[in-house]
Symmetry: C2
Subunit: 355 residues, 2 copies
């Protein structure tokens, strides 16, 4: 008996020292069963006040923190939602992060972020983490539309919301997951219409990389709008390049130095617009006097440089995505939703000169 008590003490000391005590350590120290410890700590069921105090004191003394893996295994709930994003440095996602985080926090979930670098492998890994039940739900902004990714998503019973930062190719296909679409096509379309309304007829286009769906859609928007305005765009006016500043810089340089240069440039995103802005400035050109410019994404720096752009409703997208995941967690059988957002034109100085 004395020996047993000695053992108990020793165990307790060990637990405290390592800082890793389990629920049974607490139970032992408090002199109650583990079930009671669980009830007391989670405030469920009936626990006498004096017993609760016993448990709380023991837990405190041991520095007890429940091991979430144990709970997860039993309850099949992690309390975690994952947001998977392609890229750390693109400001366009910041609003989403905030929106998701605020929304899930209100419901007692924590948000974890995972960066995929827009690579298929990493996008698959994000889905995999969901399949392994590291988190309860996933909101992913993804670049690839590979069959492999689709298959992985379809094999996942847990809630997934997909957003491709464009009109989602998998929206309204009868798939059992939710999607969020941004009508970037319409955005670029509106940009061209705006430039045309300012009197421009020679409009250059920074198209971005040819490989990505997002930029394919934007290009279509450009073409359609040009046609609708009865304008013709020579092939040399369309610059396929990286979607970043450097791409925009190089393309802008080329366009601005043409003999018969355009009077306006429509960039398929803000990063390119900014690069283009730099290029024009480096060539001692003035915006909008020498050449007009529009972007898309409404980055902070576009506001600073006074570049016309498009707001993307990032915050709402994040909130809605989170809401959809949480709803599906509650009601898994509800009809999948396909949400649409339309970019909102923000006219600034860079396109405000009538010609």
């Amino acid at each position: 008996m004395a020996e047993t008590r000695e053992n108990v003490k020793k165990e307790n000391r060990k637990a405290r020292r390592q800082g890793k005590s389990s629920i049974s350590d607490v139970a032992r120290l408090a002199g109650v069963s583990v079930g009671t410890v669980s009830n007391a700590l989670n405030s469920v069921g009936y626990v006498k006040d004096s017993t609760r105090k016993l448990v709380l004191d023991a837990a405190k003394e041991l520095g007890y923190v429940p091991n979430r893996a144990g709970r997860i295994l039993k309850t099949a709930k992690t309390g975690l939602i994952m947001l998977a994003l392609p890229d750390t440095s693109n400001e366009i996602y910041f609003g989403m992060i905030e929106g998701v985080q605020e929304t899930v926090k209100k419901q007692g979930y924590s948000m974890l972020l995972y960066y995929t670098n827009g690579k298929l492998n990493e996008e698959l890994q994000a889905v995999r983490l969901l399949q392994e039940r590291v988190v309860d739900g996933l909101f992913m902004v993804h670049f690839s539309y590979d069959q492999e990714l689709l298959d992985a998503v379809l094999q996942t019973p847990a809630p997934i919301v997909l957003c491709g930062m464009c009109n989602h190719l998998w929206a309204n296909q009868g798939y059992p997951f939710d999607t969020i679409s941004i009508d970037v096509q319409q955005g670029i379309h509106d940009a061209v219409k705006h430039l045309a309304s300012m009197g421009h007829s020679r409009i250059g286009y920074l198209a971005g990389p040819k490989g990505l769906e997002v930029y394919r859609q934007r290009y279509e928007g450009f073409q359609t709008a040009m046609e609708e305005c009865g304008l013709i765009c020579p092939e040399t006016y369309v610059q396929w390049n990286d979607y970043n500043e450097r791409g925009g810089y190089n393309s802008g340089r080329i366009l601005f130095q043409m003999q018969d240069r355009p009077t306006a440039i429509c960039a398929s995103n803000d990063q390119q617009a900014i690069g283009c802005w730099e290029a024009v400035h480096d060539l001692n050109g003035k915006i909008p006097e020498d050449i007009a410019l529009t972007g898309l994404d409404n980055l902070k720096i576009s506001k600073i440089l006074d570049i016309t752009s498009f707001g993307m409703h990032e915050d709402e997208m994040g909130e809605e995505a989170a809401r959809m995941i949480l709803a599906r967690l509650k009601y898994p059988a509800e009809e999948p939703q396909n949400l649409y957002f339309r970019p909102r034109l923000m006219v600034r100085k860079s396109s405000l000169e009538k010609i």
Copy 2:
């Protein structure tokens, strides 16, 4: 017997439909024990090739993905490392994210990001997630130095690396965790010396918010350097304000409109410097002709606007932090490390005019 087989089939179908099969479902379908399934899937121990194939086929047919909670419970390893950051929108952290992610990925870990918004509560929550063993280790950039946070960290047996984006107050205090320091004091010091060397003697200072340790240290660096240069800074030249662009904008406006305005402004970070840049431009002032300007953080936009700044070694910090965590996971008893980084001056046009 026939009934049993029926049951097995039914169970299998159920598992497949739900997409949630467990290791025992696989074992049943493959006709082997769960131990063998585990061995086959993880390529440990001895498994006959034909048996392995049986298992793999069964796993594939069921769309089996192991539940990580089960493994975690048994192995006490999650394979996850958490990076906790104060802020989504500050570009200064992007390099860290990359550095941490690359480093941990090489060792088979996944990196999860958690945003604290620089609030004590959320910083505590990040530590809590580590204590609950949601992840194996934590690298946190934090703002607060509350006793409560320190206590939480000290109670956590799992590896933590702390960075305050300044000379860490808890470095070299004999605490059992690793720290990373940035000598921002020295950074600002160097900025002032640089401005003085360009002939400036009337130097204004954008100090940031008074409450944060980070800015206290930077201010000290400013004062010390001024004294060393034999320069005097009137109180009105020191502007305490928000650490963001708006703060810089307002402070810049005030300083530039003074009767006896400074010939140079030293900003305690780039965001303020950028705001200041805008303010001066809005007042039709020229940089550096009318007033010189330096920042600190080396943001991309500072390069675009040609503002002198300081590189912060973010990438290396991320790599080193990750390395420290992984090392401590392997050798928990090693001496804690306290790393130091010194900002690197990047002179640009904004401070290149001799006076």
